[in-house]
């Protein structure tokens, strides 16, 4: 019965994950609009159904039934490929994020992660890097100056912020050497979540969180760093020419990036599904993970409501003159500390 373990269970888990993510995306838009509304002392969407809960469904229907246009003089192949290329990696990130502990179900030990691979965090970085292509290609294929500028901005921004982000992740990986038995560290997100760390190590890790959070905002292209689609300079950036379901795919990607980045951050910085009594009732892990994830998403929305968008050159300057050196210093101190301990 090898195929059950090898194919069936991961397939079921993937399907559940995708369904949950896509519903989650729809209601994330609702949560964001509601929260942004309250941040601005408005009520937010409340027309469709109780508390406006019908808005995501209405939006989806509207998107689906709109006419799908491909403008003339675009690169037709890449224009159609763009949204798909953007969406797929944002879903793939979740493959390595453990959303709960291992549960015993149907007489089998089922870990709450799709792929328990030993390069977990590298997978996140790799898939995150590929996610740029959808935006860049879509923007270029649109044959529109605004879209092209959006695409160019995306590539420069992603490349720049990937560096401090990667360095911070390396620093955090160095700290895992203190947690494993043989002192060699791990890349596996499942093990990183499981790891028991003393309080001072947690404090040191949390010190890096503000920097990491800024990188996350830039990497997901969220406000205040939404330069790929700055509406008051570039109309809608890379998605100017997109409409209907293709636009919806880009829209989805943005929110899935938020969810994915939050999931990774929760796993790396805040112990993923861990919490009190989780050893006795493994089901609680799922709850804790959801709560932490929502808290992280709240932070994203809070930031987008609070901080205005800087200028583009300020964004890059900030990355190279502050974030990058700061991350390097953090990594150096961590490395020295890990070697000494």
């Amino acid at each position: 019965m090898d195929w059950i373990n090898l194919i069936l269970i991961p397939a079921i888990k993937s399907v559940i994950l995708v369904v949950v993510l896509l519903t989650g995306f729809a209601y994330l838009t609702w949560v964001e609009r509601k929260l942004i509304g309250r941040f601005q002392q408005r009520i937010g969407p409340n027309r469709a159904w109780k508390f406006g809960l019908g808005h995501p469904i209405a939006d989806a229907l509207k998107m689906i039934f709109k006419e799908e246009t491909i403008p003339n003089y675009t690169d037709k192949i890449l224009f159609a490929l763009g949204p798909g290329l953007a969406l797929a990696p944002s879903l793939l990130i979740f493959a390595v994020i453990p959303v709960g502990p291992t549960l015993r179900m149907f007489g089998k030990d089922i870990p709450f992660v799709v792929a328990d691979v030993n390069i977990g965090l590298l997978w996140v970085l790799a898939v995150g890097g590929i996610g740029t292509y959808g935006t860049v290609l879509g923007g270029w294929a649109s044959n529109n100056k605004y879209s092209l500028l959006g695409a160019l901005r995306t590539s420069a921004q992603m490349l720049s912020y990937e560096l401090p982000m990667g360095i911070l992740i390396i620093a955090l990986l160095l700290t895992t050497a203190l947690g494993t038995a043989d002192g060699s560290g791990t890349l596996n997100l499942v093990e990183i979540v499981r790891m028991d760390r003393p309080w001072w190590l947690w404090a040191w890790i949390w010190l890096a969180f503000p920097l990491y959070f800024i990188c996350m905002l830039a990497e997901t292209g969220r406000k205040p760093f939404d330069f790929p689609e700055t509406e008051n300079e570039l109309v809608a950036g890379y998605q100017t020419e997109y409409g209907s379901i293709k636009f919806a795919l880009y829209y989805m990607t943005e929110y899935l990036h938020v969810l994915g980045a939050s999931g990774v951050a929760v796993s790396v910085f805040f112990g993923g599904w861990r919490g009190p009594f989780v050893e006795q009732f493994p089901g609680l892990g799922l709850l804790y993970f959801t709560i932490k994830l929502l808290a992280m998403v709240f932070l994203f929305i809070w930031a987008s409501a609070s901080v205005p968008r800087p200028r583009y050159d300020q964004l890059l300057k900030f990355c190279w003159t502050f974030l990058f050196p700061a991350a390097l210093i953090y990594m150096a101190i961590t490395a020295v500390g890990v070697v000494l301990l």
């Binding site: 997978w123 970085l125 790799a126 290609l137 160019l152 490349l159 990937e162």
Partner: protein, 170 residues
Amino acid sequence: MFLFIVFALIAIVAGLGVILSRKPVYSALFLLVNFATLAALYIMLQAQFLAAVQIIVYAGAIVVLILFVIMLIGGGELRDIRDPNKTLLRRLTAPRVTGAVLALLLLAAIGYGLITGTLNSASGSAAAFNNGSVQAIASVLYTDYVLPFELASVLLLVGMIGAVVLAKNE
């Protein structure tokens, strides 16, 4: 073996696409496909770490940079620069000769590896790398291959300094 053939074919087709497509953007994308198949081949060799790094570095950074440059200078269709009046011999300019010689050298090296069997025997040693784990690669990289490793870093440093000098020169 079946998977290998599939991926190898994709890699070859993508490689041909890189040099044959008329639009630079498509070339860059074919290059991306090529790198992706290489990563798949690494995974088939149990070298997951290498595969991930291949994707992060090449797909995540280098091809994005290439695309960035192509878009900055405009990614329109390339003109056919062949001059139909020139004979084959006169079209052999210096860069083309260099390219041809390098290609022949590469072919010769691969052929040598195939004939002497060095290429074939290398495939069996995945277990020696502890299934391509990070620890195994790290220890090999910092003991046996420390000199090439450091040389590569010096090379990169030189490139970086060169870039800074070029950018500074107004």
